[in-house]
């Protein structure tokens, strides 16, 4: 039973139910002319159609999750499965080989033991497929019959339909929220496992970062998991260098666009700036690694630096700052434009010049919005990976010299997870702890930014 067939079946049955229910609702009118219907026939139709389709689809989702397990259990219970090796990994390989052949995903098996299991698999799959179809048909029938019998002239089908639609919408929003919670929970679990192996204090305050995936997992050296150099690299690149670029440029471009630019100018500069926000960060990464980083090295050489690195925090930070400009500028733009023009007029009418008005009235009044924009930009910058991966190396380095190679939290997460390491090893698990810290920090920044924006909205509405 493929999900597509079930889906089409549900649609077909729902359509049939829809037509039948509408005919039935119309018949109330022909049977008793002048009867006052509580809802239009279409609502009766939708009511029945939803009652047919929804149970079927919900069951279908449930069944596609449950059926493979049921199939596996059935196969393992069969006499052919008795000869399977007890060791989990080999056993799983054989089982999945047999399953793939049975479902037609692959044509032949390597392991002769799997061959014997193909037939039981095929059998169990067919059986459970038929059970699935049968149950969903029964559900559709029950739902359809139950709802169809409720149709009466005074049945308030519209309110019911609207309630069902509302429930569907609620479900949709819950899925997004639940996914987020699920992600956080899984992150927390792995983080707790990590802190079971490495002392949290060493992690949060240690100054040396050098996890060795090849070392023994049983007795990890806590002193190699000091994340401070990573936090420092993240802050230095994302929150300091990038912001030194992004805040003044973003703010000035917002002031120019809202206060000085002619409408025709604004019409094309603003979208052009917003396009910057849509450039994939990998492209910025190329730019940073291939153009900016080498020229920074050359400039450093020119000024007599000895042996400057070709990967530098400065290159990554500069390019990241450029990437962030549209965030700062569009938030600042919005909040400056939201300052009531009465403020501007009030200031101008006192004989203030345009620039005095901007500096002393507009920007201070728009400050909460600007601050919020900067915070969102910072949280975006410290979560950024690609630019730093490409331009700032993976060497953890606790230094205030922007010309040195540095690494950030996100880069180390990538480095730890893409290695050969197993998921039992603290070096791999450290990625989750780093991710968790990053998550908390960006969450806090976004939270503060939203609060600030909210207060700012209340001030003028």
């Amino acid at each position: 039973m493929s999900p597509a067939i079930l889906f089409l079946l549900a649609l077909g049955l729902a359509l049939a139910g829809w037509l039948a229910a509408r005919a039935r609702a119309w018949s109330f009118r022909t049977a008793e002319p002048g009867v006052r219907m509580a809802a239009r026939p279409t609502y009766h139709a939708w009511y029945v159609a939803l009652w047919i389709a929804l149970p079927m689809l919900l069951f279908g989702v449930l069944w596609t999750i449950l059926a493979p397990n049921l199939v596996n259990q059935a196969v393992l219970a069969s006499p052919e499965a008795a000869s399977l090796p007890a060791f989990g990994f080999q056993r799983d390989t054989i089982l999945s080989e047999a399953r793939n052949v049975a479902s037609g995903a692959s044509s032949a098996v390597f392991n002769p033991k799997a061959q014997a299991l193909v037939e039981p698999f095929r059998e169990a799959m067919t059986r459970y497929a038929w059970i699935g179809i049968a149950v969903s048909l029964v559900l559709a029938f029950l739902g359809g019959a139950w709802s169809f019998l409720k149709l009466k002239p005074d049945f308030r089908a519209r309110t019911r339909v609207e309630r069902i639609v509302m429930a569907i919408l609620l479900l949709a929003s819950l899925i997004a929220v639940l996914t987020t919670i699920g992600i956080v929970v899984s992150l927390v679990f792995e983080t707790i496992r990590f802190f079971g192996m490495v002392n949290p204090l060493d992690f949060l305050f240690g100054l040396h970062w050098g996890p060795d995936p090849m070392s023994s997992a049983e007795n990890p050296d806590s002193s190699r998991y000091g994340a401070v150099p990573l936090f420092w690299g993240t802050i230095f690149i994302g929150a300091i260098i990038a912001m030194i670029v992004a805040i003044p440029l973003g703010l000035m471009s917002a002031i120019y666009l809202t206060q000085y630019a002619a409408p025709s100018m604004r019409r094309w500069v603003k979208p052009a700036l917003e396009i910057l926000a849509g450039v994939p960060t990998v492209v910025y990464g190329y730019f940073a690694a291939l153009t900016i980083a080498p020229s920074i090295r050359d400039i450093a050489l020119f000024f007599g630096a000895s042996n400057p690195s070709s990967e530098s925090a400065l290159a990554a930070g500069l390019v990241m700052g450029v990437m962030i400009i549209p965030f700062v500028s569009s938030m600042a733009d919005d909040s400056i434009a939201a300052v009531p023009s009465a403020m501007r007029d009030g200031s101008l009418a006192m004989g203030a010049t345009k620039s005095e008005t901007i500096r002393k009235v507009l920007v201070p009044a728009a400050l909460p919005g600007i601050v919020a924009g900067v915070m969102l930009a910072v949280s975006r910058a410290i979560g950024e990976t690609m630019i730093v991966v490409m331009a700032a190396s993976t060497a953890a380095n606790l230094s205030a010299n922007p010309l040195e190679a540095m690494t950030t939290v996100t880069v180390q997460i990538v480095a730890m997870l893409t290695g050969e390491g197993s998921f039992d090893h603290p070096a791999t698990l450290s990625a989750f702890a780093l991710g968790f810290v990053l998550f908390l920090v960006t969450l806090a920044l976004n939270f503060i930014a939203l609060r600030v924006v909210k207060r700012f909205r209340e001030a003028y509405d």
Partner: protein, 262 residues
């Protein structure tokens, strides 16, 4: 075209408008207006909505400059100097011709900083004591000092509507203007706050030339000595307030003040 009463005593004109036309794009909002704004009097502009009285008021301190499509023709003089001549310093002009708006618009700063804003940008105060004195004097003149003297650091936006408007008047006074333009200053206020503002206008009248745009004919009658009736972008009639309200020469003026339209 404009009927100007001939019983006006010869006063010194602080501002003098001659054949002023104002356009918004292609639309003409003001049609050859020529009137004098006398020194030390309160002049009221009355007329139905959209008659151009606010537009004309805003052209007296060139606030129309902030509207890109607005264009002004004719001459407006302040003490004999054309304010639309090229090379006119708009910043200086607006320091001399202050303005109070329809909706109170205090800056989202402290009460003190609201008042100190103008003196600071114009460099009136030599030191902190000077500035304190200006702030106090302005608030006293605006009749707000006793209400706010203990909370000068509070935000200006936290005051009540009437207090905010008096704060805006105090702010305008603080730069020591010669003319104060008021664009329906009471339309957003309750009757008690309105009465306070009217009282304040009376107090200020001897010191500044005041021009007030108002929708309320009672208000015009209460606070002003001169009234100009605007209709469809023209000044229909201009004279002593008492004459305009009791003895209008023009049929349209009579219709308006007796409430037949507007």
């Amino acid at each position: 075209m404009t009927v100007i009463h001939d019983n006006l005593e010869a006063t010194e004109a602080k501002m003098r408008a001659r054949d002023v036309n104002v356009y918004y794009g292609d639309k003409q909002a003001i049609d050859s207006v020529s009137i004098d704004i006398p020194q030390k009097y309160v002049t009221a502009f009355i007329g139905p909505s959209g008659c151009g009285k606010s537009t004309f008021l805003r052209s007296l301190n060139r606030m129309n400059d902030t509207i890109a499509s607005a264009r002004v023709e004719g001459t407006i003089e302040l003490d004999g100097e054309d304010i639309y001549k090229s090379g006119m310093d708009v910043v200086q002009l607006r320091a001399r011709v202050g303005m109070v708006f329809q909706k109170p618009n205090p800056f989202p700063k402290s009460i003190y900083d609201n008042i100190a804003y103008g003196p600071k940008i114009h460099g009136f105060a030599e030191d902190k004591d000077d500035l304190d004195a200006i702030v106090e004097r302005s608030l006293v003149r605006a009749g707000l000092w006793n209400e706010v003297k203990d909370r000068l650091a509070d935000s200006g936006t936290a005051l009540s509507g009437g207090q905010q408007q008096r704060l805006c008047i105090a702010r305008a006074i603080a730069v020591d203007p010669e003319v104060i333009l008021m664009d329906e200053p009471c339309s957003a206020l309750d009757p008690i706050a309105t009465a306070k503002i009217e009282e304040l206008i009376d107090d200020l009248a001897g010191r500044y030339a005041i021009v007030i745009v108002t929708h309320s004919m009672q208000q015009a009658a209460r606070v002003s000595q001169r009234t100009a009736f605007f209709h469809l972008g023209k000044v229909v009639e201009y004279g002593r307030t008492s004459d305009i309200f009791t003895n209008p020469l023009e049929e349209r003026t009579k219709d308006y003040i007796t409430g037949r339209y507007g």
